[in-house]
């Protein structure tokens, strides 16, 4: 006992000694007076919110005293300050209930990243040259205000554009209000993996323009069409919690999970039954399942209600979708379709969900509507064990499409004088064909609020670095993951390390300097005030049993990381009549004779859409299936590899009608022979020391096809060809693919 304590003490001492070696210039730095009261060695836990993906999980940040090298008032020195040491899930938070995914864990490294922008920058060199000069906030804000006031004076329409990642809450309100005052567009929201097709389908089928909250935990039968719901899709931590519960949380009862897709995703790997399906045929397959259920009188066609009525031929029992008729197109044996349909119909509750590549075909909306109809037929919509809809935020209006904006700007049809960028990297994450870079080059003044130089912010003239999430006020209204109404809020978990300011604060500051209507439309001095105001409104609307007034309500929300309803929220569906849709076959860019393979980009479990490629943890942790580290790969079936004489680790060239790239080959049995898959995330040309120049970016060769009926990119609609060009560099953590030695076959 004493011995172990001693070891622990010496361990801590060792760590300190390792960090403060003799002769370290740190010792010559002046020490600032601490800004906080801290007890060394004692950890405090502060709530926060994960901002790395749209799920909006609640965090608890372990904060301990430490000494950081910081600049205060232009002076470099050592400051004893509270430092975030570890991120955990917030156990009280309804979405993630104390759990956290690997990406969320790594959020810590965003704050401490060595290549974070440490203060406002003004471009000095040629645009894109990466030459910047550090300036103070006064000068930086002045420059922004000056550009904006010039713009305001010109009274020009659409002269201001604001490209952001999809946002929620007060930040969105502030940005939208700000942009609206310039008679411009609303902000342009852009993310490569967006949920607009699913929102559109859910709006049509169920009257909720929201991604679904899938209650997997109490479901007995889950059919997933392409959705990587345990990895990156929608609200993965909430879904993983549900998955664990479905499997082993209910003694004596274990649900079944069937996955249809083209390449075994991390989610597919956990399926009880993994069934490959032809790309884009998911809708047809769903309707074939529905056909069996209806035809065998397991359910009445009318049970699907409005969602069913949107499908042509539904009321007739979908005669065109009999398994035998569609089997060839779908690529699934008729008896398998029938069996799955019978199993699903026999299980209550049973649920179907669709996502990722299945809705990123040109017929993605049809696929989504078909799966929605299947879910409705299975009777699980709006019920425990089925699909629920949260009410965190009101249905959002469709954002302006980056694609059309970019083409208008680059063609000169629209003139943009000032472009603001926040948390979006469209130069990397949009297909090259969209011409985002060309459009940006036409904009005379670009200001970015980014924390890092990336492909997009490298083009900026002015960089106004935001705090890292842990240093910032945060709020969020997650739209899926919990049936409860969730409004998260968190004060900064730690003081800013660098000379940064919150984007919302800068914008509010600029608004006040610009004057005019802003005093009324944006009455808050700071972002904190804006959030507090939203909570005051929330208190007025929802009331509280525990807090006696708005102040206490606000204080309690900060302590627990937000406010959430005790009961599932009940939001009325807004169903508008719609016309029945016909099956539409997926269209693929590229002639199948010349480009024989489907190209399937997929979200990386660790790098997500590439926005996390700069975190060393995310680079070094092996991908769950390929076990690849520090690089990308092109996944191909052994039969395809044999045909093309490609071996594991060979450098292959993937050519689409819209471009080509090179990456090492990974030969995997878990992919259809006519599909070539590649993770999104690597291939950054300029994104910190850890991500720059690493691998290739599959987005760059995508055809600019859209999902019919929406403005979304059909990112699974490109065909490619590939060939071996040499030896590549593939770093795998895992040794053998198979548990039994392949050498044994020699016997």
């Amino acid at each position: 006992m004493e011995r172990r304590d001693f070891l622990k003490i010496s361990a801590v001492a060792g760590a300190t000694a390792a960090l403060e070696g003799c002769g370290n210039p740190d010792h010559q730095l002046i020490r600032f007076v601490p800004e906080e009261d801290l007890i060394p060695g004692i950890a405090t836990w502060k709530p926060s919110i994960c901002t790395l993906c749209p799920a909006g999980c609640g965090l608890l940040v372990r904060v301990m005293a430490g000494e950081a090298e910081v600049v205060r008032n232009g002076q470099l020195g050592l400051l004893k300050m509270g430092l975030a040491k570890k991120l955990e899930g917030n156990p009280a938070h309804p979405i993630n209930q104390g759990k956290l995914c690997p990406r969320g864990q790594a959020g810590l490294q965003v704050t401490y990243h060595p290549d974070r922008i440490k203060g406002p920058l003004v471009r000095t060199g040629r645009r894109g040259s990466g030459q910047f000069r550090e300036v103070g906030w006064d000068e930086a804000t002045k420059q922004l205000v000056q550009k904006l006031s010039e713009l305001k004076a010109s009274k020009q329409e659409g002269g201001l554009a604001f490209v952001t990642a999809p946002l929620r809450g007060q930040r969105k309100t502030i940005i939208d209000t700000f942009v609206a005052s310039f008679k411009g567009l609303t902000s342009i929201e852009f993310a490569f993996f967006d949920d607009s097709v699913i929102r559109a389908a859910n709006a049509a089928s169920f009257g909720h323009a929201l991604p679904p909250t899938v209650d997997i935990g109490t479901s007995n039968y889950v059919i997933s069409f392409g959705a990587d719901f345990l990895g990156t899709w929608n609200s993965p931590v909430a879904q993983s919690l549900g998955f664990g519960h479905m499997r082993k949380g209910r003694p004596g009862q274990r649900g079944k999970f069937v996955q249809f897709e083209q390449r075994i995703s991390q989610t597919g790997a956990s399926a009880d039954e993994w069934i490959p399906v032809e790309p884009g045929a998911e809708g047809m397959l769903a309707l074939s399942l529905a056909h069996v259920i209806i035809a065998e009188n397991k359910q009445l066609a009318t049970a699907a209600g409005h969602a069913g009525s949107l499908i042509e031929g539904w009321s007739l029992g979908l005669p065109d979708y009999a398994p035998e008729k569609v089997a060839a197109q779908v690529g699934v044996k008729p008896e398998t379709i029938a069996r799955i349909a019978r199993e699903a119909a026999a299980q209550d509750p049973a649920v179907a969900l669709i996502g990722d590549a299945a809705v990123a075909h040109t017929n993605g909306l049809f696929n989504a509507l078909a799966v929605n109809a299947l879910s409705a037929l299975l009777g699980s919509v709006g019920k425990p064990g089925g699909i629920l809809f949260a009410s965190g935020s009101s249905a959002k209006p469709p954002a302006a499409s980056l694609q059309s904006w970019a083409s208008e700007v680059s063609s000169g049809a629209t003139a943009v004088d000032v472009l603001l960028l926040y948390n979006a990297n469209p130069v990397f994450a949009a297909p090259a064909e969209w011409g985002v870079q060309r459009a940006l080059e036409k904009v005379p003044f670009i200001a970015s609020f980014g924390s890092f130089i990336d492909e997009t912010s490298a083009l900026a003239d002015l960089i106004l670095p935001d705090h890292s999430p842990l240093e910032s006020w945060l709020e969020d209204t997650p739209v899926s993951g919990s049936a409860k109404t969730v409004v998260s809020v968190a004060p900064p978990a730690m003081n800013p390390l660098h000379n940064t300011r919150a984007m919302a604060d800068v914008l509010l500051d600029a608004a006040h300097q610009l004057g005019g209507d802003f005093a009324k439309t944006l009455p808050w001095k700071t972002y904190e005030e804006a959030i507090q105001a939203s909570f005051a409104a929330l208190y007025k609307e929802k009331g509280s049993k525990t807090a006696k007034d708005a102040d206490e309500f606000w204080k309690k929300a900060q302590e627990q990381g937000g406010w959430w309803s005790t009961e599932p929220s009940q939001v009325a569906a807004v169903i508008s009549a719609g016309t029945a849709v016909k099956n539409s076959a997926p269209q693929f860019s590229g002639d199948s004779s010349q480009y024989p393979y489907h190209f399937l980009p997929f979200a990386s479990q660790l790098l997500y859409d590439g926005s996390l490629a700069h975190l060393p943890w995310m680079q070094e942790v092996p991908d769950p299936l390929s076990t690849a580290m520090w690089g990308t790969w092109v996944e191909i079936n052994p039969r395809t590899a044999e045909k093309l004489m490609i071996q594991q680790g060979d450098l292959v060239e993937v050519v689409s009608p819209n471009g080509k790239l090179r990456a090492p080959a990974l030969v995997s049995p878990g992919i259809a022979p006519d599909v070539i898959a590649m993770p999104v995330g690597q291939g950054h040309q300029n994104f910190t020391r850890y991500a720059t120049g690493r691998g290739a970016n599959p987005i760059s060769i995508l055809a600019p096809a859209n999902v019919e009926g929406t403005g979304s990119l059909a990112w699974a609609a490109t065909r490619v060809k590939l060939s071996r060009v040499g030896r590549g560099k593939l770093i795998l953590f895992g040794g053998s693919l198979s548990e039994s030695s392949p050498e044994l076959k020699h016997r």
Binding site: G255, M629, I731
Partner: protein, 235 residues
């Protein structure tokens, strides 16, 4: 009776998401080695998720198994260490005393699970990444073997806290970083010496198996293999 810390991992729940791996890196100050060293198979992941494919397309299955130090009761790594850097604690953990380690790497050879990781170079945290380091865990220098400790710093902190509060430890009160983060709750940690604990209950279940149990290492991590779905089960 001293605690006997153990773990149960339900592979029917595990979905291979790697959250445990990152949590472990963050909690235990495991340095990243970078691309060049990773290519030399020197990456350090105290817990890793082993992935095996079975069968050929289209009848492919994938199996995930998180593998961490099994904290064997009859650990092959312990007797081979000439300096007692690897030794058995009274609470059943395979301790690794970094200060005693001279880097023979014998323990890593003896370990059938290959869960011991060697510091081929001094660890590097490019400033200010060093600020993320957990002050409760020592940083290991070049030439030293390291491995999963079941987050002994968390165990000790809770034990000290419970002793200060003059109470017994509650089952489930101690959670190593991997267990705490696991989104599917596949991992359960607790005292195998307490027959009432959740981990003991799982260890006794008919599903429980040990990884390479046939080697006689008596691991304290119990694996509950993937189940299959039977229609009748739910009927």
């Amino acid at each position: 009776m001293a605690h006997q810390w153990g773990m149960a991992i339900d592979l029917d729940r595990c979905n291979g998401c790697e959250a445990c791996v990152v949590a472990c890196h963050a909690e235990n100050n495991i340095s990243t080695v970078g691309e060049e060293q990773a290519a030399l198979s020197r990456a350090k992941h105290w817990i890793r998720v082993e992935r095996y494919y079975e069968g050929e397309f289209p009848d492919v299955r994938v199996k995930f198994t998180p593998v961490l130090c099994q904290q064997c009761d009859a650990a092959p790594c312990e007797p081979v260490c000439p300096t007692f850097a690897s030794y058995h604690t009274s609470e059943g953990l395979n301790g690794q005393v970094y200060n005693r380690c001279i880097g023979t790497r014998y323990c890593a050879n003896a370990c059938p699970y290959v869960v011991r990781y060697f510091n081929f170079y001094n660890p590097i945290w490019e400033k200010p990444l060093q600020l993320q380091l957990n002050p409760d865990v020592s940083v290991r220098e070049e030439g030293v073997m390291e491995k999963c400790t079941f987050c002994v710093q968390r165990i000790k902190a809770r034990e000290i806290q419970a002793a200060a509060e003059k109470r017994e430890l509650r089952d489930g009160e101690i959670q190593p970083a991997c267990v705490q983060s696991c989104p599917t709750r596949a991992m359960v940690f607790g005292d195998l010496g307490d027959p009432e604990s959740e981990v003991s209950r799982l260890a006794r279940s008919s599903r429980a198996t040990k990884l390479l149990g046939e080697l006689g290492t008596r691991p304290k991590v119990n694996y509950l293999p993937r189940d299959s779905w039977h229609d009748s089960e739910n009927a």
